[in-house]
Every structure is written in structure tokens, then in C-alpha cells.
Symmetry: C2
Subunit: 220 residues, 2 copies
């Protein structure tokens, strides 16, 4: 398989060259604009300039296209969380550092939801492909990049225990508690009763919620 000299080659060609990715890109844009219900196969095809049925050469159907966008959203979310941690200053007290890091992860999570509501909602939308990974807090899958951030959370929680800031018997399900809090908070802000809260009040509520959940996790 030679590399097609096409891609941006010129003149409208019968074969697109990279239709799959082009469709995903278009679909991501749609999702960013209007969430999962907005990613409609025909519109993605239209915006790429191709017939609707062409998509079926690259996806099993709309569901599979949506799944692709979903993965993209999960990765972007993970990146936001990682970035929030990366930016943190180092501290002398490792326990304090772990606490700050935990809060930062949560902040990055909520921040992404607020800044990219469509993608965030898509990342957690229901899809027919219900083959979800599961973890109780003990078994953390690795490899899949969308879970890199989750791994980061998990490690940070371990650090909390190691530094004596969290009781070991609190450790199991700690990531579920943390994740639940930021996930719920994000959705209450996006779709729920906190939707029309002015930004400054909203941020205050976010900070207070982060503080509360971390307090719960680190209670001795």
C-alpha cells in the first residue's frame, strides 16, 4: 500500500483518502456544538462533502461514529485533568501536595465540563456498545489512554494514604466517591439546577464542593 499522494492533492477526487478521520473530525465538531444528539451521520457526511452512505464503508453505522467521538471526548477530558495537575507547584509536604493534587484533578474535570459541555456530555452519553470497563477502585485498567487520568487520580489517592492523610480503610471506593462528586457537580452545572448560576458564584460552589469531598476523603 503506497501512500496516496492525495490527501490535499487537489481537484475533487472520487476517493477521499482519509474519510474515516474526516468524518470523525466533523462529528466531533458537531458534538462540541450540541452534544451527542447533535452528531448525526448525514450531517457529518454533508460537511465533509460526501454522500451519507459513504460513511458505512468506515463505520458500522451512526452508533459507531458516535462511539468514536465519545472516545475522543474522554481523552480530551483526561488531558484537561492531567494539565491541571501538571501546572501545580511542588510542595515540601508530600501529604499536602497530594491533597492539592486531588483538588486539582477535580478542578480540571469540572473545568473541562464547563468549557466543553458538548464534548463532555458526549463522553458520558449512553451508547449501544455497553461494553464498559468497570473498576471497584481496586482493579484499575491501564493502557487505554482515556483512563490515564483515572490512573493519576488513583495514584494520588494512594499517595494520600502513604502520607498518612487518608485512613487506609477509607481507600477502597475513594475514587468512586471523588469521581461521583465532580461528575455530579459537572452535570448539575451543565444541565441541572445550577445552570444559570453566574460564573463567579458557580466557581465558588465548585471550590466548596471540592473542599468538602476532599475533607471527606482525608478525614482521620
Amino acid at each position: 500500500m503506497e501512500i496516496m499522494e492525495s490527501i490535499t492533492g487537489g481537484k475533487s477526487r472520487y476517493h477521499h483518502g482519509d474519510l474515516r478521520n474526516a468524518l470523525i473530525e466533523a462529528a466531533v465538531e458537531l458534538a462540541a456544538e450540541g452534544g451527542p444528539e447533535r452528531v448525526v451521520l448525514r450531517e457529518a457526511a454533508r460537511s465533509v462533502g460526501v454522500s451519507p452512505t459513504a460513511a458505512y464503508r468506515h463505520f458500522n453505522g451512526q452508533g459507531e461514529l458516535l462511539e468514536e467521538v465519545k472516545i475522543h471526548g474522554q481523552q480530551a477530558l483526561a488531558a484537561s485533568m492531567s494539565e491541571a495537575v501538571r501546572v501545580l507547584p511542588g510542595l515540601d509536604d508530600p501529604g499536602e501536595e497530594a491533597v492539592r493534587r486531588t483538588e486539582a484533578i477535580g478542578r480540571g474535570y469540572v473545568r473541562f465540563a464547563i468549557e466543553h459541555p458538548g464534548l463532555y456530555r458526549t463522553a458520558f452519553c449512553r451508547t449501544s456498545a455497553a461494553e464498559e470497563h468497570d473498576f471497584t477502585g481496586l482493579e484499575v485498567p491501564d493502557g487505554s489512554p482515556e483512563f490515564a487520568a483515572f490512573r493519576e487520580l488513583s495514584d494520588t489517592l494512594d499517595t494520600l494514604v502513604a502520607a498518612g492523610r487518608m485512613r487506609p480503610d477509607n481507600r477502597p471506593a475513594a475514587e468512586v466517591a471523588a469521581w461521583s462528586a465532580v461528575h455530579g457537580l459537572s452535570l448539575l452545572i451543565l444541565d441541572g439546577p445550577l445552570a444559570l448560576l453566574p460564573a463567579d458564584q458557580r466557581d465558588a460552589v465548585v471550590e466548596r464542593t471540592l473542599t468538602t469531598i476532599v475533607a471527606g476523603l482525608t478525614r482521620q
Copy 2:
């Protein structure tokens, strides 16, 4: 306006008599089966035995029908929370009672989500009618029955403060933190990574999460 002797009168009549409620009922059933995306106007009409456009005499369109179902779901959720509290035994220590009550409210919330996933998802689905109520934790709207349970949570949190189990400066946004936790937990269980967790492990995670969030709220 005389009462129509119809309703269950007999013989197929041209005028249904209570089509609006019949459609809502059908739509609720659909939502219970498959969530918000399942409440399709034509199917509701079909199951009532009426033409699709008949619905337009009673609703502005599918969105308004969905909105009706949404309200129904919110009320059912509130009922589940209230029931969980009602069932609690009284305690001598009012502080301890308030703590138990807070946990019970959360348990009732998550329990409803697990037992009625379709209705729960519908209760929180996005609808065009974005005229949501908002509250920062200070201003709690009353009247609307779907918020009765929220009022109950708010009162319970007040009791926590009064009994000296919660620092007053922790009070603001406390309901947001509590709500976020149970909401996020419910969604992680329904759609997210905890979906395939066996029931007993799932219940354990729920209990641990409730404990953690209450610990955060009541930390001195």
C-alpha cells in the same frame, strides 16, 4: 362543563375524554422502559390508539410531552427520598439523627436511580425548556412538589448545623456537594464505569460513598 360519562364508558368514541393524561401516562411508560430518547410522540399516540397529530391539541409538541414526563420523574424521585427518610427510626441524639437522615436521603436518591433508571434519566435529561430553577443553597424555592425532597435535604443540613455536627461555614453549598455526590454516583452506576458491577459490590460502593460525603459535610 359536565363530567363526561365517558372515560371508560365503552365503544370507541371520537373524543377520548382525557387524552392529555393518557398520553402522559403512555409516555411515562416509554420513559421507564428506555429513558428520554424512547419517549416518541408517535408511539405514545399509537399506544393510546389515537392519531399522532391529536397530541398537538394538548401539547406544543414532543418537547412539551417530554417535559411532562420529566416532571413526573422528578416527583417520583422526590417521593423515593421522602420515603427513605420516613422509614427511619427516631433517635435520642438529634445530631446523630440528622446524620442518619442525610445518609438516608442519599440512599433514597441512588435507590430510585437504580430501580427506575429510565425515569431517573428522564428526570435529568436536557430539554429545550431551559427555564430551570436555580439555587445556590441559600435561596430554596418552595411550592413545586419536585423540590419537596430538596427542601427536606436543606432542612436536614440545617439540623446538622444546629446540632453542632456541621461547621456553619460549611453550610453554604452543602446541598450542592451532597447532591453532586449522589447524582454523580447514580449516573456512574447507570451509564458509567460502574454499570456492570454486581449488586452487592455496587451497594457497598454506594454506602462507602455516602459515608465519605457525609464525613466531608460534618468534618469539624
